[in-house]
């Protein structure tokens, strides 16, 4: 009778708990979505920054203008004139396909949202999904309570917010979800051994591959974990099932036959014949699926990965070697282990011993041979098999020393300590506790979590950008830590409750309490009462505690305080730090809010008042925006795969007017765009970026030398500046007629008066300057006009020499 009652109430409690966690998850999702809307509310619903504009452009073109294969050729000509950009091979299609599909679904339901709106809100929607995935993953590792906590933490972790606010339409927006979800499915498969989840895992991994270069993180982490499990003697068929299908995505087609045979070995664990056949069929499907999927993604096609040098696949380069290497090694190992277990099952112990010695000796020989071959291969390649980016992943200072174009991007710098505090905040303190909690007890899943946090901490230390990979791991760990701490405190508070209250009641109350605490902490409301009231009410008369009651209560209170601090920080970060769209700037002064909308002013001007096929040259930062907003072809853009091309523009900017004109003219440029912040004090303008142009230009064209632009090693633009500096194009275009604004030409960014104040432009003509002078657009004077101006000047000298000079200089390609 009693048991029946308990089971009944247990199911009731179970159902109630499920509903409660569902409601909490829903709230977490809503919060994850809404915390990212600060940018829309404070500013407007626009695409942010630079790269998202490219993604938006691709989405737009694919959906609205041209369909299918034509879109690629249409797009190719628009970027990086005159080389063009092979869109199919250098773009991860996951994001654009996702947003495109969303848009199509909405439109088929006659909900006429614009492509832009869908793109803007893709990231917040997917961050809600990511919280859900975190819940699932953490639930697999440490139970539902930790899952909910981790989901709540992830929903508002600043590091992730920085990449997924509304409008931040970047690969990371969907990739973090894909990353966590892939991990979840891996762990799920590991825990259940279900092929269903394994298949899902392969698909999720495929989606991740489509979305972000960070997929290499997965494909390195999972083999590492598998290896760890094997080494620590945790091999199980479930591990095999979890790992093998995934690795099939990356192992080459040649492995197909071997794989098939090995699978049979693995499936021998399954008892019945039917299941074996079924398994076999599934595996065949999987092999085909895996190889097909991998081949489908053009970016990942081995050729593309080997040759393309774009930032998105930063990790890809480090993993180039490892991917094929570590994967196949681990792949072989797991099959060997599987075989060993299989044989162990068949043979008698003695026979097995003999077999082991035999196999080990043969294996050693084979291993040495393979190792020797590999070493020979690596040594024979001129770069020792490592590209610059892989080296910089191992040695964080490598890039800044040798490759200026990588070092010029701020998100590729190693992070500073404050940025850890800014981006993951109190999680940094909770992570160690989480790691400890993972060891009690250590399961396959929790060992994976530990491995994940350790590797991601390392990677985040190399590059600020990879902080994003660390954030989910930190959230999971902190979720576990918090949840365990609450459980422990709760247990302590309630321990000894033996006499007066029935066991049933205690259980009931306890589970309810914990869930309530978590949920309330998540939704950041009146946490204190919730925790203290029930505990105090029921526990006043209990004295049989391990720790004093007061200590526990205080500990709980402190934890809640910590959580509250985290929430406050996250909301602040979302509202203030990470929501600015960067194309609209605002400043607060005594007479109200000032809006600096100069970028769009310039882009709108370009789009409406220049010819459609005019080419615009600017520093590469503004390339994507120009293409997307001004709809004009650019010379270089944020896709930095062609260093030489960027160096050409850098050289032009650092050259004197005449040489610059020649370079631009040979590139068929009509307009040159510079960003100038000297009038209003906008610090990230082209003059401040100018040294990078010199460095990158000088890296390819040696006649540009950095010391020429520096006076005693100092970069300055005042009267002490070098003549090379004062005569270069960037200086002239930035400060042309600047002195007339205030009479002395005071630059508010550099806080100094400019060196050369009055000068004329002979080869360029100012055609547009925005309201706050932040963007200045110049037109290349046509050769005829230019010569006329010249003849006027040099009329006294000679009339004939100019014409011959003209014909001589016109066709000259200055870098050939």
């Amino acid at each position: 009778m009693a048991t029946q009652e308990t089971s009944q109430s247990a199911t009731f409690r179970h159902a109630f708990g499920n509903v409660l966690s569902f409601a909490v998850l829903l709230l977490i999702g809503v919060m994850a979505f809404s915390i990212r809307l600060f940018s829309v509310i404070k500013y407007e619903s626009v695409i942010h920054e630079f790269d998202p504009y490219f993604n938006y452009r691709v989405t737009q073109v694919r959906l609205v203008f041209v369909y299918g294969i034509f879109a690629n050729s249409f797009l190719r000509d628009q970027f990086v004139y005159p080389l063009g950009r092979v869109i199919g091979g250098t773009v991860y299609p996951g994001l654009t396909l996702t947003a495109g599909t969303l848009w199509r679904i909405l439109n088929s339901m006659n909900i006429p949202l614009s492509v832009e709106t869908v793109c803007v809100f893709t990231a917040p929607v997917f961050s809600a999904f990511a919280s859900l995935a975190t819940y699932l993953l953490t639930k697999e590792i440490k139970g539902a309570g930790a899952g909910l906590t981790a989901a709540a933490l992830l929903a508002m972790v600043p590091s992730y917010i920085s990449r997924s606010v509304a409008g931040s339409y970047d690969n990371e927006a969907v990739a973090i979800f894909a990353l966590i979800f892939t991990f979840y499915l891996y762990i799920k498969t590991l825990n259940t051994g279900s092929l269903f989840y394994a298949t899902l895992n392969a698909i999720a991994y495929f989606y991740m591959v489509c979305s972000w270069g960070g997929y290499t993180f997965i494909i390195n982490l999972i083999p590492m974990h598998v290896l760890l499990c094997i080494v620590t003697g945790r091999y199980s068929p479930r591990l095999y099932i979890a790992y093998a299908p995934l690795s099939l995505n990356v192992v080459s087609i040649r492995m197909l036959n071997i794989t098939f045979r090995r699978e049979k070995a693995a499936s021998s664990q399954a008892s019945s014949l039917i299941s074996e056949v079924k398994l076999g069929i599934v595996r065949v499907v999987m092999v085909v699926l895996g190889t097909l999927l991998a081949a489908l993604v053009p970016v990942v096609g081995f050729n593309a990965v080997m040759t393309s040098e774009h930032f998105a696949s930063f990790l890809g380069h480090a993993a180039n070697l490892q991917m094929s290497f570590s994967n196949s090694v681990v792949f072989i190992i797991i099959h060997v282990v599987a075989l060993v277990y299989y044989i162990k099952g068949i043979l008698s112990p003695q026979m097995f011993k003999v077999a082991v010695t035999l196999v080990v000796s043969v294996g050693m020989v084979v291993c040495f041979a393979v190792l020797a071959v590999l070493i020979a291969l690596v040594a024979s390649s001129p770069t020792k098999g490592w590209s610059g980016r892989s080296l910089s992943l191992l040695d964080p200072t490598y890039a800044s020393k040798y490759i200026p174009i990588i070092a010029s991007v701020s998100e590729h710098q190693p992070p500073t300590w404050p940025s850890y505090f800014m981006d993951i905040n109190v999680l940094a303190f909770l992570v160690p506790a989480g790691i400890i909690a993972c060891f009690f007890p250590l399961s396959d899943a929790s060992s994976f979590a530990v491995l994940y946090i350790v590797t991601s901490v390392y990677f985040s230390g190399v590059m600020v950008r990879l902080m994003l990979v660390l954030a989910p791991a930190a959230c999971i760990m902190s979720g576990i830590a918090l949840s365990e701490a609450f459980d422990a405190e709760n247990f302590l508070i309630k321990a000894g409750d033996t006499t007066k209250v029935t066991q049933n009641d205690v259980k009931h109350e306890k589970s309810e309490d914990t869930i309530k605490e978590r949920s309330s902490r998540k939704s950041k409301k009146k946490d204190k009462e919730n925790i203290e009231r029930p505990s105090l009410v029921s526990q006043v008369e209990k004295r049989l505690l391990v720790l004093p009651l007061e200590t526990s209560v205080i500990a709980v209170f402190l934890l809640v305080l910590l959580g509250a601090f985290y929430v406050v920080h996250c909301v602040w970060a979302a509202a203030e730090a990470y929501s600015a769209p960067s194309i609209v700037l605002t400043s607060r002064s005594h007479d109200g809010l000032h809006v600096f909308d100069d970028f769009r002013e310039a882009y709108a001007w370009l789009s409406h008042n220049t010819e459609v096929d005019d080419k615009v040259a600017s520093w590469w930062d503004y390339g994507y925006q120009t293409t997307a907003m001004a709809n004009r072809t650019v010379i270089v853009d944020n896709n930095t795969w062609n260093n030489t091309h960027i160096a050409t523009v850098g050289t032009a900017m650092s050259s004197p007017e005449k040489a610059a004109w020649d370079i631009f003219n040979s590139l068929d440029v009509k307009y040159v765009l510079v960003v100038f912040g000297g009038l209003v004090g906008y610090p990230s303008d082209d003059i401040n970026k100018f040294l990078w142009m010199v460095r990158i230009g000088g890296g390819v064209f040696p006649h540009i030398k950095e010391p020429d632009y520096l006076r005693d090693g100092q970069y300055r633009i005042d009267s002490q500046a070098t003549p090379t500096m004062l005569n270069c194009l960037m200086y002239k275009l930035s400060y042309f007629r600047f002195v007339e604004t205030d009479g002395r030409g005071f630059d508010r960014v550099r806080n100094t008066e400019i060196g050369k104040k009055h000068f004329k432009l002979t080869h360029f003509e100012e055609v547009f300057t925005t309201h706050h002078w932040m963007v200045r657009i110049y037109k290349l004077k046509s050769p005829r006009n230019r010569i006329r101006g010249k003849t006027k000047k040099s009329k006294s000298k000679s009339g004939t020499s100019t014409s011959s000079k003209r014909s001589g200089t016109r066709k000259k390609n200055p870098w050939q």
Partner: protein
């Protein structure tokens, strides 16, 4: 343009040489006074005619003649007859519509004004006529630099073109400033300040013509909306949503050479005088959720002033517009339904809204008005006081199934005088309002029902224990 001038010249020569065969009509104009206003880029001509019938047959219509070049730019012709004397004088509008004449010399085009009652022999009547010309000011020089003022040509005739004999006539031309470079002398003609006076001329026969050119400074912003699409979406849930998408251009003298921001900012009076950066949009009172943006996002430079009579939206394009520069933008707002939608009969409703464009003092080359009726409305019909091109479309928006009927009205050459109310009548059953909420509710119900069913059935073959 040269070809146009040349053809005009041929036309004039032919007119002068040609015999006056068209004077078959028995009407005669005793007195004609014309006032041409050239102060903005819209040319307004006020014509006062005193007409007498000299023949036996009563006259029912009066013809107004226009040279073909002018006729193409004619945006509007309004006529009125003066009724009563002195104190009790009032104007009764008359119908004026374009007509064709088989005997028209050299492609002269006509508008015929129907008189209220036929004019018997010997009777006189007074007509007040207003006609508006667009794109009739030709910038010369065609390209100007930033600091130059904008000079334009205006072509017309010193003598009023008419199929009738005009006994006595005079023409006044008003220019925006005293800066008149030159004007054709047709004696007697003289200028005082910003006024040019041609005439009085006596006793000119039918189709007399004497071309004149006035070259003067006009720095009025030549704001021309090349295309305007207004979408008026009626929702019976309480609001009318209006979206206006503009393609704006500065149709004056083209900007030449450099644009210097420092000059533009430091000498606001002397630099870029013909450019403009503000536009005033007049919206209906009680508007809500006004937005002003373009394809790349919100434009932050606008101010909204509201009072009980009207709402004024002062907008600034992203950049000042110089000659030849273009800009596109979007203005959207919602207005309360009860202000514009009325019930004419049970089940029948009509929308009463203003035709034309919200921005004051502009010419719209091509105006498209789309009235999106609610889903399920029937029998749309339109009442507009002038000729427009009409068609019907279907539009699918928020969860529509059968689509919304869209009444499309198209008109070229729209001037501020076209801002008059028009009506769209349709029949609508209020039950259709509930269609979409019910659809949503049933979808969610089905979803939940399906999940309940899914959670309660066990599809496994063997019973789990």
């Amino acid at each position: 343009m040269a070809a146009a001038i040349f053809s005009l010249f041929i036309f004039v020569v032919a007119l002068l040489i040609g015999t006056s065969s068209a004077s078959s009509s028995g009407l005669q104009i005793l007195q004609a006074e014309r006032q041409i206003e050239l102060t903005s880029h819209i040319v307004r001509v006020y014509l006062t005619l005193k007409i007498e019938n000299t023949e036996d047959a009563p006259a029912t219509e009066v013809l107004l003649a226009f040279p073909p070049t002018q006729f193409d730019h004619l945006a509007l012709v309004k006529a009125a007859v003066t009724v009563g004397k002195k104190r009790k004088k009032s104007y009764v509008p008359l119908e004026a519509k374009p007509t064709e004449r088989p005997d028209a010399p050299n492609g002269t085009k006509y508008h015929s004004v129907s008189l209220l009652k036929p004019l018997a022999k010997g009777e006189t009547t007074n007509l007040e006529i207003l006609y508006i010309l667009t794109q009739s000011l030709e910038p010369f020089p065609e390209e100007i630099a930033q600091s130059d003022p904008q000079l334009v040509y205006y072509h017309d005739s010193a003598i009023i073109l008419s199929p009738y004999h005009i006994a006595h006539q005079a023409t006044m031309i008003k220019t925006p400033s005293n800066n008149v470079e030159s004007f054709t002398q047709v004696d007697p003609a003289h200028r005082s300040g910003s006024e040019l006076r041609y005439g009085p001329y006596e006793g000119h026969g039918p189709y007399s013509y004497s071309p004149i050119i006035v070259h003067f400074e006009n720095n009025h912003p030549f704001a021309v909306v090349e295309e305007l699409e207004r979408e008026i979406e009626i929702s019976h849930w309480g609001s009318v949503q209006v979206t206006e998408s503009y393609k704006l251009a500065h149709a004056g003298a083209k900007h030449k050479g450099a644009f210097s921001r420092v000059e533009y900012q430091s000498r606001p009076g002397g630099s870029g005088v013909s450019s403009f950066k503000h536009l005033l949009a007049v919206l209906p009172p009680r508007v809500h959720s006004v937005y002003y943006r373009d394809e790349i996002g919100n434009i932050s430079t606008s101010r909204l002033r509201t009072n009980s009579k009207k709402t004024e939206l002062l907008i600034e394009p992203r950049y000042p517009l110089f000659g030849g520069w273009k800009a596109t933008f979007l203005i959207g707002y919602g207005v309360p339904l009860k202000d514009f939608l009325f019930e004419s009969a049970p089940g029948a409703r009509y929308l009463n809204y203003t035709f034309g464009c919200s921005i004051a003092d502009t010419v719209v080359d091509k105006l498209t008005i789309k009235v999106v009726l609610p889903e399920g409305s029937k029998d749309p019909s339109v009442e507009v006081p002038f000729a427009v091109k009409q068609s019907l479309e279907k539009k699918y928006s928020y969860l529509d199934v059968i689509g919304r009927t869209v009444v499309v009205l198209e008109k070229r050459n729209v001037v501020p005088e076209h801002h008059v109310p028009f009506q769209v009548h349709y029949k609508f059953n209020p039950l259709f309002m509930l269609a979409e909420p019910l659809m949503l509710a049933s979808t969610f119900f089905l979803l939940f029902a399906a999940s309940v069913v899914y959670l309660h059935i066990d599809l496994s073959i063997r019973k789990k224990c």
